[in-house]
Amino acid sequence: MSTTEYGDIWHLEEHGKLRIGSSGISWKALEGGKTVNVPASELKWAEWTRVARQFQLRIGLKDTWRREAFDGFTRQDQDSVGGLIKQHFDLNMEVKELSWRGWNWGATDFRGQDLVFLIGNKPAFEIPLPSVANSNIAGKTEVSLEFIQPDMPKKSAKNAPDELMELRMYIPGTLPKDNDNEDDA
């Protein structure tokens, strides 16, 4: 049976190659031997999204919150990946639109184990909850999330990644609404 291979595909911070075939989707790291396998019978949905490493194929599994994301596809891969998903698993790969407005305000929601930040009802980004090392509530309206850094071999300073350490959010909805506006009434 035929499988199609895509090189240069990332799973989290590891580089590898991805295969799509009638038995399912599998990814293998170029170094270290880590693999991710999703058998065809477990596949429930597939999405295509523009992310930092160009395009992402995100797949969801049946009867579980587990989902897997693979980054590094090019724009030109969209038709072939979508075609293979249809051919092998009879699923329509949905193109997921994000918000590109550039705003820092919106709403939060949960999708499985991902915290989604929505701007105008479209996701701007998602935070996998297992990546949160610590969270704090400062005052009544500020929440901070500190993130676990992936345990990767240290690169030279020149090639060092930009690591997100902390995100702080202001959530005014938690404060009684007409409390802070009475001063100059």
Partner: protein
């Protein structure tokens, strides 16, 4: 009261109209400054997230051991600035990103990013000021 900018007119701004407008140079999870769109693209868990310079308040930089830290602070209501808050907001009751902090081993890169963000903010403020003076 105008403690959160209520009652003032909020001026709409937007980074990109759609995915196709995001610069094709964005191909990895790294901070990218798009001067043309007045936007800083920040990597958040694999996503490339644009933030318009109008949404950014300022940036700060710190050295700690071998790392350099870059923190981007955003405009949000309810900040104790010491002076009367008069920035208008589209939706003061929304959830706001208040700050994002990055670290790197690449000092030169973060020095340059920090300077570029400050310069972009300065240029935009200057332009706004000139517009205001022209209108008066």
């Amino acid at each position: 009261g105008e403690a959160d900018g209520r009652g003032k007119e909020w001026k709409r701004f937007i980074s990109y109209k759609g995915e196709g407008a995001l610069p094709s140079e964005v191909t990895e999870p790294k901070i990218y400054i798009d001067k043309k769109a007045l936007t800083v693209v920040l990597p958040i868990h694999g996503f490339a997230v644009p933030f318009h310079i109008n949404a950014i308040k300022n940036a700060s930089k710190n050295d700690e051991a071998e790392y350099v830290y870059l923190r981007i602070n955003f405009q949000t209501p309810g900040q104790l600035t010491g002076k009367k808050e008069d920035t208008p907001f589209e939706d003061p009751d929304a959830t706001f990103i208040r700050s994002l902090t990055y670290r790197s081993l690449n000092r030169t890169r973060f020095d340059n990013l920090f300077a570029a963000i400050q310069q972009l903010k300065k240029d935009v403020n200057k332009r706004e000021q000139q517009k205001k003076e022209m209108a008066d």
